[in-house]
Symmetry: C2
Subunit: 310 residues, 2 copies
């Protein structure tokens, strides 16, 4: 089968479409024909060697997928051949969705939302689970609560805005001016231009801040939280000084790493089918042009998501 | 750390306690100090080479665990250091719980039921999830339905009886005479001695049969199901002739392989804490005597479960 692979760490041009053996699903798993696969900042970090999560190359990147069940190992009852599914297999122990086929544990998949095509559904697992596990599992966001979402036009951010609105929260969003119309259309109640405005002047007494940016953004967000409010960061999880500063200020801190879980996938699918969650795919790029997709993800300029089509 | 390992396939005496590096949990995972770990028939099948699920030795077997969180990788919010947990990590891609420490994805763990000690909790994950995923996820067992559970005194069977009773079902059980009192005490409504009685003469019009034995038992069970009733086998998943015979008879067929899933663990823990589910640990054996535990599991004579203490 075709897969996007690399022999060395390096710039996007290390990526090559190669022919590799089709994976063999084990008991409890299914084989999925990948139709589309999201690309995320972590793919670029692993590719470059900045975050060598998968050890030394060669390896195939990719954790998002949307596709069709090609083979069911006897013993799996959740899916049948031909079912449309989406999911995030094996994160972070192995990648592999930037390929024609991938073997996936059944409980790391859910049924693809009917309301979404494969390209949109492939944009949902890693970024959507990150947002869901931040706002729902960790923050337990409630109707009427006030949340600030940083980089609300990005992959995680644009899904987080929609999830927060679906939960009945009041959403303040930061984004560059070029993305303001986009973020408003997602449902954000207030949009702040982080380049020209100071969000600490407009936002205050918030219940939750979701930081998808990192660096000074987290520290500056402490003051906009109400006492007991929660800073959720999906970036600076290991920043013990930030954590201490948050706790010293009487606020709460949660660092989040996304985790495979069919429960979150099913919740995202239900929201999508209810018309409350629609991933925005800015670029759908053929697998053979994977290097271009990596260049785009590193530019940080994309609204929403980039997916590879397979 | 100490781990029960093997250098070659073979009889139980290939097992040795060796010193191996403590595993390193990745993002989304925690390190657990194992207090007790279940042993299951699949451990013996992998050890002997009969079912080489983990490739060639050396490897450390074991999927059940109950223990205490020793280390939390930043990014995980579901657990804190010191939490008592139980679970079934990495099945079937890697083993490793027959050891002092194991790295576990957070969503393949749940909080240990308060009502159970570590030895009892370690008896629950693989066998309990097998029973839960068979009777609840696959069969959707309803109050008042009639179910037959084969080998009801065994590891999966004795938990299945309790789960079925907790669901409000009527339970017929097969077991050898020596286990009848045990199985009755679990709540079984009728107990059939499979050695001296013919279960097809006493059981009929059943909604569900759970086959944990395999071979002729499944085929003989078809006739005791009502039209549309479900044969669930956790053994003969790949027996296409059995499947065809079931479907030809107008009954339904489900082969089950257990799958890691915190949802089932949480359900099992809730039942245990409600006093509705109590794993029976027949033997608790120190890790150093792992070979003896393997001999016992191969004897098939145990009531309930065998666990290793670490």
């Amino acid at each position: 089968m075709r897969a996007l692979s690399q022999q060395t760490f390096g710039a996007p041009d290390v990526l090559r479409v190669v022919d590799v053996p089709r994976p063999t699903p084990l008991p409890s798993e299914v084989l999925v024909r990948v139709h589309a696969a999201g690309i995320n900042p972590i793919d670029a970090a692993v590719r470059s060697g900045h975050f060598p999560l998968l050890g030394e190359p060669p390896f195939v990147l990719g954790w998002d997928l949307s596709g069709v069940v090609e083979e069911v190992v006897p013993g799996v009852t959740r899916f049948e051949v031909g079912d449309e599914v989406f999911g995030m297999p094996f994160f972070p122990r192995a990648g592999g969705t930037h390929a024609e086929y991938v073997a996936v544990p059944s409980r790391q998949l859910a049924r693809k939302p009917r309301a979404l095509g494969h390209e949109q559904a492939a944009a949902l697992p890693l970024a959507g689970l990150t947002a869901w596990q931040s706002l729902v599992d960790a923050a337990d966001l409630q109707p009427g609560q006030r949340v600030l979402i940083h980089a609300a036009g990005g992959g995680v951010g644009h899904l987080a805005v929609q999830i927060a609105k679906a939960r009945g929260a009041h959403v303040t969003a930061t984004a560059g001016a070029a993305k303001h119309d986009f973020v408003r259309a997602l449902g954000a109640d207030e949009v702040v231009d982080h380049r020209t405005e100071d969000f600490t002047e407009t936002a205050r007494d918030l219940d939750v801040v979701l930081d998808t940016v990192g660096g000074p953004v987290g520290r500056r967000s402490i003051g906009v939280l109400r006492p007991g409010g929660l800073l959720v960061t999906v970036v600076d999880r290991t920043d013990t000084a930030l954590r201490a500063a948050v706790l010293d200020a009487g606020r709460r801190f949660a660092g989040i790493t996304v985790e495979p879980d069919h429960v979150g996938l099913e919740a995202l699918a239900a929201l999508a089918d209810a018309g409350r969650l629609r991933p925005h795919v800015e670029h759908a790029i053929p697998l053979a042009d994977g290097a271009k997709a990596h260049e785009l993800i590193e530019s940080n300029a994309t609204r929403g998501k980039i997916v590879l089509t397979v």
